[in-house]
């Protein structure tokens, strides 16, 4: 009964309802404008909502998150430029549709499918999270440690980039998170005897730099971008179209939730994997993939919105973020004195049900804004980048300064911005860095707890891992990621294939 009340918190407080609505509206446009990403917006916002209560702050962020994951699709369809990373796959079939003059149909389908996927994600979150959190109480410190390592590794291994660079990024993040005084022994770590570094590096400065400044600098490369004007006619898709794609949309939603729920991986990877899946299972598409197949819109759009609900599962139950945005939200909860993890679900179940309620509301708002306001949309997206980029940079600086009223944070932010700019150019993923910074403390604490409880004996530690099914599974997953990326694996695979041929 209490949880039902908490679920409806958003509806009973007009202020929260308004914030979710404003957030979703802003999210759709932030997602749609190339160069403005959800991660960027949420990381800048966290510092501005610092002085707010936790409910309004979370409401706004959830709205932006839900709307932003969807919004990228529109520019992908209209301009062939994914407005957000999660819409990269959408452009492949959306833009050919727009070229045929069917942009309206494409936008309609992506909107309804995003709504559908969003609901599947939220439903799974609502059903699964309480179970996972019960289960999570059985987690040993070593399991938390393994899970954190797994999350940092997953981004590097599931993306198209190199695992070595992903691992480097993750380890770098953990090192950045360790800067300052060690909370247990007050030993200084990586401070180089500079008093300023004793307090550590503000993770908000790192995030705004990596996702705000580096992105804005990158956008300077594409300053002159032509916009295509489209006449948009029918938007709401027919019932028949929706029914026809129901089986596929269920499958791709499931992919989305799973990828979202894996620590570290989010909507962008989910969308690409779902697109691949659709290509494999669709036997006779009306049009070939890459030339305007409807299936090529259904798959990524259901998956990336389903990943939103999925990403909240590990965040709410284990305190381990499902993707970069939930990593930032964990930071926001910390700032507001909450400690995400299994105890949060037990101590404050209302918080969980409130988030579920806010997600549902945001999903409805997304449907509403998705099917209306296209004309306004075209105007806003045409906002010149020559104005947009300086404004993003200004907001990044204000955001970094606002958290601690400290100019040092601004310098850190700029430093990480320039560094992130080069990392992007040379193929180092940024997600693992943020994940590393956020999880550094958790990893460190749990390692020390685990090894102290085993009396500093590595043999006993590994014996503990091998005697617990959960630890063993996690450990095997970590090892498997490594092995699958080494030459040994491909050699073994080809050797096996040869043997089978004989």
């Amino acid at each position: 009964m209490d949880s039902l009340l908490a679920f409806f918190t958003v509806f009973t407080q007009p202020e929260l309802l308004l914030l979710v609505g404003v957030g979703t509206f802003a999210g759709v446009y932030i997602g749609a404008i190339p160069g403005l990403s959800v991660t960027m917006a949420v990381s800048i916002l966290i510092s501005f909502t610092f002085s707010w209560d936790v409910y309004p702050a979370i409401s706004l962020m959830i709205g932006i998150y839900m709307g932003g994951v969807y919004g990228g699709a529109r520019t992908a369809i209209l301009l062939n430029i994914p407005g957000a990373p999660s819409a990269i796959a959408t452009a492949m079939d959306g833009y050919p549709l727009a070229q045929r003059g069917e942009a309206g149909t494409a936008i309609g389908i992506t909107t309804v499918m995003s709504f559908f996927g969003g609901f599947v994600g939220i439903a799974v979150l609502a059903v699964a999270a309480p179970f996972v959190s019960d289960f999570a109480l059985k987690f040993q410190p070593r399991d938390y440690m393994l899970l954190a390592v797994l999350g940092i590794l997953l981004v590097g291994s599931l993306s198209t980039g190199s695992l070595a660079k992903g691992i480097f990024a993750g380890a770098f993040g953990i090192a950045v998170g360790a800067v300052g005084m060690d909370p247990l022994t007050f030993t200084q770590r990586f401070t180089f005897d500079i008093p300023l570094m004793r307090g550590g590096i503000s993770f908000i400065a790192v995030m705004i730099g990596m996702f705000g400044v580096s992105e804005a600098l990158l956008q300077l490369h594409h300053i002159g971008l032509p916009a295509i004007r489209q006449k948009i006619t029918r938007i709401v898709p027919s019932w028949g179209t929706l029914r026809k794609h129901l089986p596929l949309s269920l499958q791709t939603s499931a992919i989305g939730v799973m990828i979202g729920a894996l620590p570290g991986t989010g909507g962008d990877i989910a969308a690409l994997m779902a697109y691949d899946h659709a290509k494999r299972v669709t036997k006779n598409p009306e049009r070939p993939f890459g030339q305007g197949a409807i299936e090529g819109l259904v798959a990524p759009e259901t998956a990336n919105n389903a990943a939103v609900g999925g990403a909240f599962i590990p965040m709410m139950t284990l305190g381990i973020p499902g993707d970069a945005v939930t990593a930032i939200m964990i930071g926001a909860l910390f700032i507001h004195g909450l400690n995400p993890g299994p105890m949060l679900m037990i101590d404050q179940p209302n918080m969980f049900w409130f988030i579920v309620g806010a997600l549902v509301t945001a999903n409805f708002f997304m449907l509403l804004f998705g099917l209306t306001g296209i004309r306004l949309f075209v105007k806003i997206v045409e906002m010149p980048r020559s104005v947009l980029i300086p404004l993003i940079l200004l907001l990044s600086i204000v955001g970094a300064y606002a958290v601690n009223n400290s100019i040092t944070d601004v310098y850190w932010m700029l430093g990480f911005g320039f560094f992130g700019y080069f990392m992007r150019h040379y193929g180092y993923p940024l997600g693992p860095v943020i994940l590393g910074v956020i999880l550094s403390r958790l990893l460190d604490d749990n390692w020390r707890r685990a090894i102290i409880s085993e009396r500093e004996d590595l043999g006993r530690f590994f014996w503990g891992i091998f005697s617990s099914p959960l630890s063993l599974t996690l450990f095997a997953a970590v090892v498997l990621i490594f092995v699958s990326q080494t030459p040994v694996w491909s050699k073994a695979k080809s050797a096996l294939a040869r043997r089978q041929d004989r």
Binding site: I88, L220, D268
Partner: protein
């Protein structure tokens, strides 16, 4: 890998790395400066490993230096792998540092951002931001000064109002008597209401 030479530049998308799903760079080519960057990362990682060793040495597995040492060791190993792999690749003939990696606008903006950071405290938020916006919009757009001034001051005013009033963010006032200004308006409205 001769056939790769015939591959067109365009076949690679997203090489600027806007997303973690498709990070930048090329799987089989080296971008200009990539090896130097990897080398820098390796050197920095080695230094951090040395610094991590200095925290507690090999005192105990649960010492405050244990996780930092492990992570920096991982950094060194992965950076080394990246250096070796990158060194083996050929560079792109049609990419240059100044063209693809660090074009002039990016360098100019780097300078502008550093100048902003230096001026923010002494000059204050409003004048610094106004200068920054005017300079950067003027550099990026080919519009006249009138447009540049109108857009910069207009958007700055909006940002200031939103953040000062809705988010109650306090930026350094510098030479602008911000507090007195706001108080003036407050008094004005209170008198009006009374």
């Amino acid at each position: 890998m001769g056939w790769m030479d015939h591959m067109q530049d365009q076949e690679y998308d997203n090489h600027d790395g806007t997303s973690d799903a498709t990070p930048g760079g090329y799987p089989d080519r080296r971008r200009p400066g990539e090896l130097a960057f990897a080398g820098f990362l390796l050197a920095a990682s080695l230094y951090l490993l040395y610094s991590a060793y200095g925290i507690a040495g090999f005192e105990a597995l649960s010492s405050p230096g244990a996780v930092p040492m492990a992570t920096t060791a991982v950094m060194v190993i992965s950076a080394l792998i990246v250096v070796i792999r990158t060194a083996k690749l050929h560079t792109f003939a049609n990419e240059t540092i100044s063209g693809s990696i660090l074009p002039r606008t990016v360098i100019i903006f780097t300078g502008l951002l550093i100048a902003y950071g230096l001026l923010l405290k002494p000059l204050g938020f409003l004048p610094t931001s106004a200068l920054f916006l005017i300079a950067s919009i003027r550099i990026l757009s080919d519009r006249g000064w009138g447009f540049v001034f109108a857009v910069s001051t207009g958007s700055l005013l909006l940002i200031w109002l939103v953040f000062r009033i809705i988010f109650t963010v306090l930026m350094p006032a510098g030479i602008v008597p911000e507090a007195e200004f706001i108080q003036f308006f407050r008094d004005l409205f209170q008198h009006g209401a009374a």
